[in-house]
Amino acid sequence: MKKFITGSSCAIVFLAIALAAYLALGFMDVAADRRPSALEAGFMTASLEASVRRRAPQMQNPLANSDDTLIAGGKLYLNDCVGCHGGPGQPPSHFGATFYPPAPQFPSAGTQFSEAQIFWVAKNGIRMTGMYPQGASYSDSQLWSLAAFISRARNLPPAVVKSIQPPLSK
């Protein structure tokens, strides 16, 4: 038993030194334009989603499920989100792909999150990503309209798409 504890203590010291050396010698790759392994990326994405599911409220969107809500959200989206997350009917955002983790492309790839989870992420942001919190810039009601829009960004009613298009410039 005494040897078991000695072995255990040695393992703790060994791992602490190995970690400190790995970090201090600069071996943690920080380049955003190189991808970590699929294993690491997949695990971290799953962990992030698990944390959002655990923390976000479980509720329905309090706004009316109507084209007006989608149009209001769509206008906000085209103002502030489209640069990284891509626009409806447009190719995926090149800028959004230059982050790591890359910004999810809602109009082409959709999202697994519920509207309440989208609302929560938009409001609070996501730590250690380029997703900064919007809670100080938008009211809750605005963020709910945005969540409704993003949730359906892959499958928007044509009337909504038409009315959020910017007027054609001459």
Binding site: K3, A50, F99, T129, G130, Y132, P133
Partner: protein
């Protein structure tokens, strides 16, 4: 000896499994508007700095320093960087609690020119700093870097040249 090895292996396994379980169950904080504990920010800043220093070894600025380079860099900075990193004399309206973008106009940069060059080109993983190599030429990035390094100490002629035009 057998017990020593068993104790060693069991502890290594435990130390790997506990944080992975913690993460996978969604226990980790993900909100971007909540500050991380200071030990975590400090440890990550330290490791990031070590990694950038290592990656930028051997890079050298080929451009001569001049007012023209600074002015060209300032224009790119004010267009593309000031929103998160602040402009001279005006702090950024920054809402990113973690990891916060450095406010160059207040605190300067912890990096030397070759390191900044590397960061602008490749970005920093797990932050809001994206990789700009596909948007700017190397020469433009060097101009940007020179401006960032000198923005709190600009020659008066450069300072005047980059002020917004008054109507």
């Amino acid at each position: 000896m057998k017990n020593f090895v068993l104790g060693f292996l069991a502890t290594v396994l435990l130390i790997l499994i506990v944080p992975l379980t913690y993460l996978r169950l969604g226990a980790a904080e993900v909100r971007g508007d909540v500050r991380a504990p200071s030990w975590e920010s400090r440890l990550m800043r330290f490791a990031r700095h070590a990694s950038v220093t290592r990656s930028a070894q051997g890079i050298q600025n080929p451009l001569p320093h001049s007012d023209e380079q600074l002015i060209a860099g300032a224009k790119m900075y004010l267009d593309g960087c000031a929103g998160c990193h602040g402009r001279p004399g005006r702090p950024a309206r920054n809402r990113i609690a973690y990891a916060p973008p450095p406010e160059f106009a207040h605190v300067g940069s912890p990096y030397r020119e070759p390191e900044l060059f590397w960061v602008v080109k490749h970005g920093i993983r797990r932050t809001g700093m994206s990789a700009y190599a596909s948007f700017y030429s190397d020469q433009q990035v060097w101009q940007l870097v020179e401006f960032v390094q000198q923005m709190n100490n600009l020659p008066p002629a450069v300072f005047d040249a980059i002020q917004p035009e008054r109507p």
